[in-house]
Amino acid sequence: MSKKIVIDPVTRVEGHGKVTITLDENNKVKDSFFHIVEFRGFERFIQGHPYWEAPVLVQRLCGICPVSHHLAAAKAIDQIVGLEPEDLSVPTQKIRKLLHFGQIFQSHALHFFYLASPDLLFGFDAAPTKRNVVGVAMEYPELAKKGILMRKFGQEIIKMIAGKRIHGISASPGGVHKKVTAKERDYFLNGKNIPSIEAMIEWSKEMIDFIKIYHSKNSNWLDTFAEYPSGHLGLVNKKNGFLELYDGNLRAIDAYGNITLNDIHNDDYQDYFYEGVEKWTYLKFPYLKHLGREKGWNRVGPLARLNVCEGISTPLAAFERLAFLAATDGKTNNKTMYTHWARLIEILHCAEMMKELLEDDDILSNDLVRKGERRKEGVGIIEAPRGTLIHHYEVDDKDRITRCNLIVSTTHNNEPMNQAVRWVADNVMDGKAKITESMMNQVEVAIRAYDPCLSCATHAIGQMPLEISLHDHYGNLIDLKRS
């Protein structure tokens, strides 16, 4: 008799997902799936709205990374008013980047301290009642305090520029609404009210030191856990191929470092990507056309970005990248658990960039808006915390949006997360007589590394405990566990 294992919902991720693993009569893995069980439909909601509303409306997709949606939409709308990213005023470019770095900084801090660190600090086998942020706060209070203040710092940057920490408004077509004042920026530099940007840099370095030591002590499982060959996709700087989070060309490589997408312009993404669909999930499967559905999928996010880039522009993060590369002898890194290390290097890069921008008097300027010649279409691509985010709009002569296509980071990571689930099923559960809570958690650990944001806009009310049920191949329930 075959068994079906269901993890619903997957815990310590943003949004709601479900995993099913089907075992045959001998407890050998037959199938595994990572499902996205909620439907949003933003691409339809937005049709008929004036294009300038897009940056405000689409950020409601998410309560964790609304800034990323706001800025990706803004970049697309800039094109509709006739402006490429480099056509915007220098102060606008810098204010938007400061907003973006604040967003990635706070999102990465939230993920590492809140969602990922319990697995690293307590291990797979720790009791679920301990393996959470409350447990971290109890046993590692200084770490928890720094995590809280790093998250707060990024949130305060967002509030300064967009007016609110969540769902604020900064970007307008071809510009931003307001400049930064000297008083506002001093708040982040002088350390009187909150720890300064210098403290953020120091703490980011401490976190990287922690993860490096952790890797040296736990390489036996970190080097192999959910390791599988994959493509990697991300933006790179148009001039030098360095790590780029706000605006760059799209580059992809295969699992061995060979270029599969050679620095294409944002506008051309449709010439290179298709999106596959499956009956068992609402989430699509993007892939490179010329490689096909089986070979053309890519990871996105911190690990992919460090794989595709040729360097990092800020000195401290650049130094840490070298140590990261050395761990795989400079080869492309396909080890899922290294995503946490990569994420912390990006935290440091964001902190360095925030310092540079906060100390730049351009952000105090009133030169904020540009105008160009109206177009009918706009594409905005940005690196969100979780990976490459694509917004594409078409408008009619009455300024109404007629078509919208969004490819969000977690969509790119759909196939990689399914691969990660399959790895755990094959390597941890296959052939085992009993499926333990620790084994279940390892499925979630693999997914969690991608920091998936599954359906934030459909905020669920009330408790949704972890539920694991075993079914026979007729669908009959034979066992049930709740957290």
């Binding site: 919902p9 815990t11 310590r12 991720v13 943003e14 949004g15 409601r60 309560g63 964790i64 939230l110 301290f113 809140y114 969602l115 009642t129 959470n132 942020v133 409350v134 706060a137 109890m138 209070p141 928890a144 305090k145 995590g147 809280i148 203040l149 998250r151 707060k152 949130q155 969540i166 934030c456 905020h459 669920a460 009310i461 009330g462 408790q463 949704m464 405990p465 972890l466 957290s483």
Partner: protein, 154 residues
């Protein structure tokens, strides 16, 4: 209340009908010129709120409640608890208090004003029943705040 530094969190989402009760309650306090407290709007509580409440003597959480309530609302003491939900979408007031206490050794007087809601669809505007409950809750709350025998004062 006059001598105590107070923060009031309105929790919810005005785009989900009665889930907007918490925010609308803060809107009402603003309209009433309720200037003695800091007001914070939240879709959901976040971990950094544990640090924020350390600056206050009194914390009040206002949120919609799905359960049926005899009076249509309740106002009760909130105590720290280490209970933890499955994601960042669910961080309870009790957990925030627990984190504030364990990380910062701060334990403000804390209360929850829960107001019963009944409809949660993707629409703006309260249901008729929620409007009624909202009215009862705000009347009671304002009277309580202004009373010298206020629960919070004691």
């Amino acid at each position: 209340m006059k001598n105590n530094k107070t923060i009031i969190f309105g929790i919810g989402n005005i785009g989900r009908q009665d889930d907007g009760l918490g925010w609308l309650f803060l809107d009402h306090l603003k309209e009433e010129g309720f200037e003695n407290s800091d007001l914070e709007y939240r879709y959901q509580l976040q971990i950094e709120d544990a640090e924020l409440i350390c600056n206050y003597d009194i914390v009040i959480f206002v949120d919609a409640v799905k359960n049926e309530l005899t009076e249509g609302y309740y106002f009760k003491t909130c105590k720290p608890s280490s209970k933890y939900g499955f994601s960042t979408h669910e961080l309870a007031p009790e957990t925030i208090l627990h984190l504030a206490n364990s990380l910062y050794n701060h334990q403000p007087k804390s209360y929850i004003l829960g107001i019963e809601g009944v409809q949660w669809n993707l629409e703006i505007g309260l249901s008729s029943k929620a409007k009624l409950n909202f009215k009862k809750a705000k009347t009671s709350f304002i009277e309580n705040m202004l009373s010298p025998d206020s629960v919070i004062q004691n």
